[in-house]
Each structure stands twice: as structure tokens, then as C-alpha cells.
């Protein structure tokens, strides 16, 4: 595809339900990131993959959050037993080789999945 694709674009869940959010990165991009953006806030880092390896999951807010990228391409962010505070836009981004300080490296974002927990 032409860019990072996320699905579903909108998800309404009842408190306590499990949800799964999918991200299709740009083909060939090694690095994949998940961010959470609450209303009126900037994106906050959740986790980072390099190919299939999850190298940083320090931003996941609780053990209810789980992300995987088993074949190094498509990624899924799973939230178990959703709570109202999980309501946010979940952004996926990919990068060819990741971010670095030499000036190369750029994040390409998807349109996001808006999760509303009632």
C-alpha cells in the first residue's frame, strides 16, 4: 500500500471487553511503533518493534496491553478488559530502519484507530 494502514478506524467497546487493533506498515519497513493519543494530548510512546522483535515496551500502561508482530510485518495491539481510561486514538507508525541522530529516519504514521470505551 501507499502508506501505513490501520484498522478498525473506529471501535466502540463496553468496559471489560477485549479489543484488537491492527497495523499494516509500509512494505519493507523494519521498525514499527505504537503510540497512544488521549484527547487534547500529544502522542505517547507505547512500544517499538524491529522486525519481529519487541525491543521496547516501556510505554505499555499495564499488563492488559499486549503487542505483537510475529512475522515482522503486520502488528496487532491487544487491550484486554478495556477500561474507560483506555479511550484514545492509537497510532501506528513505521520507519525504514528506525530513528537515529544522523538526520535520517522518519516516522510514517497511520490514520489511527479511535477507541471509545463505554
Amino acid at each position: 500500500g501507499a502508506g501505513v494502514s490501520q484498522s478498525p478506524r473506529y471501535k466502540v467497546a463496553k468496559r471489560g471487553q477485549d479489543v484488537a487493533l491492527r497495523c499494516d506498515p509500509i512494505s519493507g519497513h523494519v521498525s514499527l511503533f505504537w503510540y497512544q493519543q488521549a484527547l487534547g494530548q500529544g502522542p505517547e510512546f507505547l512500544t517499538y518493534f524491529q522486525n519481529e522483535a519487541q525491543l521496547d515496551k516501556s510505554g505499555l500502561p499495564s499488563d492488559r496491553f499486549f503487542a505483537e508482530r510475529p512475522e515482522g510485518s503486520v502488528s496487532t495491539l491487544k487491550i484486554q478488559r478495556t477500561q474507560q481510561e483506555d479511550s484514545a486514538v492509537y497510532l501506528c507508525a513505521s520507519s525504514l530502519f528506525g530513528l537515529d541522530l544522523s538526520g535520517t529516519g522518519e516516522l510514517f504514521f497511520g490514520e489511527g484507530s479511535r477507541l471509545t470505551v463505554l
Partner: protein, 111 residues
């Protein structure tokens, strides 16, 4: 801990006026800094990065290490500049991949 502060939630200017979107950061090392932009109904995208020293769409940003600031400037605002702007910091540790974003400033350029 790293932090990025954008003190203005909304900045409203008239077309042709100068624009300065403020960004201050807190980080003890040497970060790399970025500005990301989100136009209406579009996805978040990179506008410019400090290390490239480039001007994109007439915007420039200068890193002031003494004031720990990376303000975004444009001498003459255009209506199409109306968007949400996010300042972001990448800590200077090799291999560190966590971009830290500010809360954003909405720029509204009126005719």
C-alpha cells in the same frame, strides 16, 4: 526524564503575519528535535528536523541549547498553514527509539 512543553494550545494569527510556535524541552543530554504537523483530516507527518537545518514550507526552527528551546517560525503565515503542530524530542542515546511529543499547538490562520 525527558519532557517537551508547548505552552500555547491555540495560536491565532492573520494571513501574512509572522508566526512563532514555542517549544521548550527538558533533557540533560543532546537531543535531536523535530516538528510534526497534522493538517485537517490528514495523518501526522514530519515537517522538519533540527539536524537537517532545512526550511520546509517557509518554516524554520533553531535549536537554542542555552534556553532549551526549539521554536518554529515563519515570517508570513498562510491560510494553508492552519494545522496542529507537535514538537518532539529524540533522546541522544544510540539506539533509543522513543520520540517524546509535546501536547501540541493548534495554529489558526485567518484571512
Amino acid at each position: 526524564a525527558q519532557r517537551v512543553t508547548q505552552p500555547e494550545k491555540l495560536l491565532s494569527v492573520f494571513k501574512g503575519a509572522p508566526v512563532e510556535l514555542k517549544c521548550n524541552y527538558s533533557y540533560s543530554g543532546s537531543p535531536e528535535l523535530f516538528w510534526y504537523v497534522q493538517y485537517s483530516r490528514q495523518r501526522l507527518q514530519l515537517l522538519l528536523r533540527h539536524i537537517s537545518r532545512e526550511s520546509i514550507k517557509g518554516f524554520t526552527a533553531d535549536l537554542n541549547k542555552g534556553e532549551t528551546s526549539f521554536h518554529l517560525k515563519k515570517p508570513f503565515a498562510q491560510e494553508e498553514d492552519s494545522a496542529m503542530y507537535y514538537c518532539a524530542l529524540l533522546p541522544g542515546n544510540t539506539g533509543f527509539q522513543k520520540l517524546v511529543f509535546g501536547t501540541g499547538t493548534r495554529l489558526l490562520v485567518s484571512p
